[in-house]
Symmetry: C2
Subunit: 665 residues, 2 copies
Amino acid sequence: MFNLPQALKRLVIGRAMRSEELGETLLPKRLALPIFASDPLSSVAYATGEILLVLTVGGTAFLYLTPWVAAGVIGLMAVVVMSYRQVVHAYPSGGGSYEVVSRNLGANSGLVVAASLLVDYVMTVAVSVASGVDNIISAFGSLAEHRVALAVGFVALLTAMNLRGVRESGRAFAAPTYLFIGGILLMVVTGLVRLAFGDNPQAPTAALGVAALDGKDSLQGLGLLMLGLRAFASGCTALTGVEAISNGVPAFRAPKSRNAAATMAVMGIVAVVMFAGVTLLALTSHVHYVEDACRLTGLAGDCHSYTQQTVIAQLAATVFGGSDTILFYFIQAVTALVLILAANTAFNGFPLLASILAQHRYLPRQMHTRGDRLAFSNGIIALAVVAGGLLWFYQADVTSLIHLYILGVFTSFTLSQIGMVRHWNRALATETDAAVRASARRSRLINGLGAVTTALVLVIVLITKFTQGAWLAVVAALLLWLTMRGIRRHYDTVAAELAVEDVAAESSRPRRVHAVVLVSKLHKPTLRALGYAEAFRPDTVEAVTVDVEPEATAELRAAWEGSGLDVPLRVLASPFREITKPVVAHVRELKADRPGDAVAVFIPEYVVGRWWENLLHNQSALWLKSRLLFTPGVMVISVPWQLTSANRADRPARRAPGAVRRGEP
Amino acid sequence: MFNLPQALKRLVIGRAMRSEELGETLLPKRLALPIFASDPLSSVAYATGEILLVLTVGGTAFLYLTPWVAAGVIGLMAVVVMSYRQVVHAYPSGGGSYEVVSRNLGANSGLVVAASLLVDYVMTVAVSVASGVDNIISAFGSLAEHRVALAVGFVALLTAMNLRGVRESGRAFAAPTYLFIGGILLMVVTGLVRLAFGDNPQAPTAALGVAALDGKDSLQGLGLLMLGLRAFASGCTALTGVEAISNGVPAFRAPKSRNAAATMAVMGIVAVVMFAGVTLLALTSHVHYVEDACRLTGLAGDCHSYTQQTVIAQLAATVFGGSDTILFYFIQAVTALVLILAANTAFNGFPLLASILAQHRYLPRQMHTRGDRLAFSNGIIALAVVAGGLLWFYQADVTSLIHLYILGVFTSFTLSQIGMVRHWNRALATETDAAVRASARRSRLINGLGAVTTALVLVIVLITKFTQGAWLAVVAALLLWLTMRGIRRHYDTVAAELAVEDVAAESSRPRRVHAVVLVSKLHKPTLRALGYAEAFRPDTVEAVTVDVEPEATAELRAAWEGSGLDVPLRVLASPFREITKPVVAHVRELKADRPGDAVAVFIPEYVVGRWWENLLHNQSALWLKSRLLFTPGVMVISVPWQLTSANRADRPARRAPGAVRRGEP
C-alpha cells in the first residue's frame, strides 16, 4: 500500500544506504574541491565589497589603501593555506583544528576550538546565503522585498539536499563551483585585456559621489591605521572556510592526506587569483560601495528605495557591457549559486564535528547516530534551524552578519597553529632521522609563522569588530563551551555511577516477583494483561483499580465477581479523585513490606494509528508509568492492545530489512 | 525540604480537597447569586451602550427608539427567566439546556446546544473582561494603551482563582457583586430623585453633536425597522448568562431546585430594575455614545486620541457631580470588578459542561477527571486559553467581540424551550392528577411562549449580526459539534472492539514467555534488567545488542565473555546504523516462530530528576518501545535505574496520602 509520508521522505532524502556503501561515497579531488572549497572561493564575492565598505567612511579619500589591505589578505591567505597543509598531513583523521588542539593543548582548549568552529559553521551558512540572495537581488531588483523569505528558503533547500548524503551533494555542487571559477576568471581576464588595450570601462557607481562620515574625511596617524586594520579585518572574511578541508580529510579517496593537501593548494591559488583580480578591477573601474546608500551623492531617485548592486554585479556589468547582457546574468547566476552552495561547506563540516564531539560525550548521543542516509541528520537540522533564525533576525543583511563571523575562525586558526608547533616540538624530541627532522623543522617554522600571524589578526579582529556584533559570537561560543563541558561532566558522573566492577557480586535477582495488574474496566485489554501476568508465573498476582467514580467502581466489581476470574480485585480509595498517587502509594507499600522482592506493574495500553487518538487514550497510563519508575525494585510492563487503527501506523516497521533500499514505498 | 514549584502551586491553587468535602462546597443562595448571576447582572454595564451605538448611526435622530428597544429587552428577559425557572424545577441535575434538549429532542440537538454553550462561555469571558477593562480605562485614561495586556492579565488571574475551587470563588465574588448592585441602584435612585426635584444633570457628552452615517439620517419603513431590530439584537446581550443557574443547580444547597429557582427570580428582578434605570438615566442625561469617536462633533482635541467613557462612567460622573468624585470611582471600581468576575460565571459553567460531555464520551476523558481542588482543571485551562486568544486577536474591543456573542445564547434558549414543551407534552400524556396537570399546562404555556419568543430573537440576531462576525461563532460551534461527534464515534468503536462477551472463553494465557533483554553496555542497569528478567523465570532468556559501532560492539562482546554471565548475547546487524528496526525485526521473527507464546522485551531505562537530562538519555528506548508495541504478543518491560538526580523529582509522589491536605509543601 502507498504510504504518503514515507514516499515524501524518500523523495526528499533519497533511499537509505548501508554502512558498506560508505566507501563508495569517498570523494575524488575533482569533487572534493567544489564541496570543501566553495566557501573560501565564494567569499571572493563579498570580501572586496567589505573592504570597500570600510574604506569609504571618508568618502573616496582613503580608497588608495585598498591595494595594501588586499595584499595583506593575500599574504595571510598564503600563510594559512601552507599552515593547514601541515595539519592535513599530520592529522588525517578529520578532527581538524579540534583534534590538533585537543591532542596538543588539552581538552579544554580543544573545546574552545570546537565551540568557535560550531559558531562559525552557523555563520558560514548565514553569511553565504545572505550574500547569495544579495547577488540575486542585484540582478532582479524587484525581489528586494523578499530578501528574508528567499534566504530562509535556500537554507531549507540546502538542508534537504544534505539529508540526501555526501556524494550526491558533491555532484550537485561541482558544476556551479567550476562555472563560478571560470566565470570570474573570464571576467578578470576580459577586464584586464580591455585595460591593456587602453579601454578602461567605468562602473555604474563610478559617477556617484560618496559623502564622508562626520570627521572621517581627514584621518591621520592612529585613525588611519585603525581604518586600515578595520578594512583588513573585514577583508579577512576571504579566509573563512580554509580549514574545512582539514576537517574533511576522511572523505577523500586514498592517499587521503596527499589528496587533501593538493586540493588545498589548488584552492589557495585559485582564491588568491580571483580575489586579487576582482579587487584590481574594482579599483580601476572605480566601484563605489557604501554601508548606507543615502551617503551616495548624485542618485537619481530616493536613496531609501535604491538597492546597491554587489561589487561582483557592478564589475560584470562594467566588463561585459551592461546589466542586461547574457554574461552579466551568467556571472550573477553562478555567483549566487556558488554562495548558496558555499553554505554547504558548513553542512558538511558541522554534523561531522558534532558527531565527533558526541563520540567524546560533549554533545548528546543522538548527534552521534547517523541518519539512514549516511549523513548526520540531527546535526544538519540543528545547523539549519540556528542559521535560519539568524537570517530572519538580521533580515539577511550581509554586513551585520559578517561582524559576528571571523572572530571564531581566527580563534581556531591561532590555537591550531600553536598546537601544531607543539606537535612538531614533540616529534623532534624523539625523532633521530636527519631528513625527517629537517622536514619537521620546516613544518614547525611554517606553523610558527602561521601562529604568530593569525594571533595578530585575531587581536585586530577583536579590537575592530567586538562592539559591532562580534561580542554575540563570543557569548554564543562561551555558552556552547560551558554546555559541552556540562554534558561531558553529566555523562562522566552517570558512567561512574553505573560502572560495574565485579559482575558476579553486583548481579542480583529479586527473591520473588509480585504482579499488580491495573484495571479500569473488564474488557479485552484487561484480560490480555491478566493472561500475560499469569504467564510469567509470578509469586502473587492481584488486579488493582482506583475508585475515582463510585458507580463505575461498583459496576466493575460486579462484573469481576460474575466473571469467574480467580485473580483478586483490590479497590484503592482515591479521596482526591486521582489515579496516580493511590497506585504509587500502594506499590510502594507492597515493595516496602517485601524488601528483596520485585513488584511488576502491568499496564494495559492502547496502541493507536493516528496521532490524535493518543490524546483520547493512555494519558493516565503514561503519567502513572513515569511516576512508578521512581521507585527502586518496581518495573512497569506495558501490555499493548492494538486497536484496528494501529495497522495504519505499523507499516514502516513491518517491512523486511532492505525494503527501503529497494525503493519500496 | 522546601519544594518551590509545589509551594507555588499550593499558593495559587490552594490545598487539595477530598471527595467528601464536596458537600461543604455547596452554595447557599446568598453566595450562589453572585457566582451565577454576575454575568446577566454585569451586562447592565454594556447592554445600554450597545443599544445607543446602533441607534446613533443617524446622528441623534433615532434615539427616540431607545425606550421601545429597552422595553423589548425587558419583556424578553421576563419571558426567559420564567421559562428557565421551569427548567430548573424539571431538571435539577445541572445539565441545563444540554440535558433538556438531549432528553427531549435527541442527542444531536443536545450536542448543538452543548457546542453553542461552549462557544458562549468563551465569549462571556472575552466580552466581560474587555468591558471591565473599558470601565477601568474610563476612570484612568492613561491605561488605554495597555488594554490588551490588562485583559489577558485578568483572564490569567481568574484562571488561578478558579483553580482554587468553587466555594472560595463564591466568597471572593460575593462582595463586589453586591456592591455593584448597591452602587448602580444608588446611582439610579439619586438620578431619579434629582430629576424628580426638577434638576436634570446632563452627561459630559450631551453637548457633543453626532454626525450621521451617510444616508442614515432619514431612515423610514423597513430601514427604520431594521435599525430597531439591530438595536434590539445588541440589547439582548443583557440576557447572556441567564441560563447559567440552570447549569449550576447541583452546586446549590438543598432543596436545590427551589433555591435555584428563587435565586433566578431575584436575579431577573434585579437585572430588569438596573437595566431600566440605567437606560432611563442615559436618555434623560443625553449620553451620546458612538462606535467611532471621530463621528462626535465639537470635540476639543484630536478624535483619534479621544477615549469615549462607557455609559456607566458617564452616568456616574453626571449623577454624582463629576468624574473626580469618590462615588464616581466607586461605581467604576465595582463595575469593572463585577465585569471581570462575571467572566467567572463561565469559569463555573464551562468545565462543568465539559465534564458532563466527557462523561458522555463527547470529549476526551481528561476533561472528566477532577483536578485536586474539586474544580475541573483541564476545562478551566482550555477556556482561559481560548478566551485569552480572542481578547488578544480582537484587541479587547467590546463591540467586535459582542458580534460573536449572543447567537449561541439564543440557539440554546430556543432549543431548550422547544425541548421543555415536548417534556410537558410527555408528562401530560401519562399524568392523571388534575392539580399536577394544571401545573404542567401552565408550565407548557410559559415554555411555549419562551420558545416562540427566543426563536424570533434568534432569527433577528442571525439577520442583523451574521455578517458582522456572528458567522465566526457559527463556524466555531459547527466545528465543535463535528469534533464531539467524532470523538464519541471513536470511543464507541473502541468500546465495541474491546467488549468481552464471555470472560472464560476470551481469557488466554501465552503458552511460554521468551525474555529479550536489550543491552548497550555491561553496566548496572543491564545487570538489574537481567536479574529482573531471570526472576520472572521465563522459558528462554537472551541478551540482545545492536551493532551500530563495530568497536563498541567488540568491546561489549569481550566484556560479556569475561563476565561469566550465563545469558547468551546476540548481536543484531544494523546495516543502516539504526537501533529500532533490527530489534523490531528480531522480536517479530521470534514471535512468528512461536505462535501462542509471548515475547517480553526488557528495556533498561534511566530515571532522571532534571528535565534536560531526559534529552541526554532514553531517546532510543522511548522510540523503540513505541514501535515494539505494534506487534501483538509482545510486551515491553521498563526496568528503571534511578540515577542520583532522580531523588530531586521524586518528592511529590513520595509523600503519604493526605500530606497535601495538611498543607505540607
